[in-house]
Symmetry: C2
Subunit: 180 residues, 2 copies
């Protein structure tokens, strides 16, 4: 399980409320880990009980108050020990691949629209990533290397490489489907 650890990393990058975390999980963190707000609130509560994070009531004007969480020493230690233990290379779940192989027993050409839809989703995501890269990681070499920035950037480059690979592969899939 890594949701706890994903939350710790996100809170180390910047403290925030459950709501804010949920929004981050829709964008930057969400590139490689998804979570709904319900799940985040539940886990956050458990982490608070375990002393991994500390909450602070923050009154706001113009909107409801929020509970801002930040990482406590125990949380930092928990993250550190997780970082030092090996994890299994992740197991994959590609519904679309199941569909593609299944299409052989149904209607290969009928899958074209679905694959095109996925292709569009991936080009959109790629455009989104590239815009984020241009915005947050301009090419100007600004001073000394910053680990946090550089590592965020390399993860984003991974997302970009993934989307490019997927688009190329989906083109391959479309060409194959259209032969039937």
């Amino acid at each position: 399980m890594a949701l706890e650890h994903a939350i710790l990393v996100s809170l180390l990058e910047k403290p925030g409320s459950g709501y804010e975390l949920a929004r981050r999980f829709e964008r930057s963190i969400g590139y490689f880990w998804t979570a709904t707000h319900q799940q985040i609130y539940r886990v956050l509560k458990r982490m608070e009980n375990d002393g991994w994070v500390a909450a602070r009531e923050v009154p706001q004007q113009g909107r409801p108050d929020k509970k801002e969480y930040s990482v406590a020493d125990l949380g930092h230690a928990a993250l550190s020990s997780w970082l030092h233990e090996p994890i299994e290379p992740e197991s994959v779940r590609h519904d679309l691949a199941v569909k593609i192989r299944g299409a052989a027993f149904d209607d290969p050409a009928g899958l074209v629209r679905e694959v095109e839809r996925h292709r569009r989703a991936h080009t959109d995501r790629l455009a989104h990533y590239l815009a984020g890269e241009e915005r947050d990681f301009p090419p100007a070499p600004g001073g000394p290397p910053d680990a946090e920035r550089e590592l965020q950037h390399v993860v984003l480059r991974g997302g970009i490489a993934y989307e490019r690979m997927m688009i190329a592969w989906l083109d391959d899939v479309l060409a194959t489907l259209r032969r039937f």
Copy 2:
């Protein structure tokens, strides 16, 4: 949920027992969908109750008897209707990306060995895929196009593209980590 559908596809490609399915999920199907034997047996039982698959006792010599499953009409229909309904582009879960961003707050250089381990796992898988491709999909253009074969092949090409992308990205990650 697509485990049921992955099983249907696998059984359409070739009928088999729960045990055999579990083995396939360790190799070809496992490239894009993982499942343990416990899960497969449980789902298979439900599918049998729902009339999606039919079981047949097959006595064997030299080893215990097995129950061979094959797809029933209801199962074929269920697969077909699933193929025709749109699915969400899958959400990602990359523990390693969490670790990489987390390393900024711990010990970037200490992650090198872990990333190298993952890189090795991906080169192994790539070699395995390429060997499978050479074995099962020789370049000889043997007659008329066969949808089942071609679609299996394009899914395998997706696995190959994925592994190549990952290896290149992990090299990028290693170069980045080594700067700290």
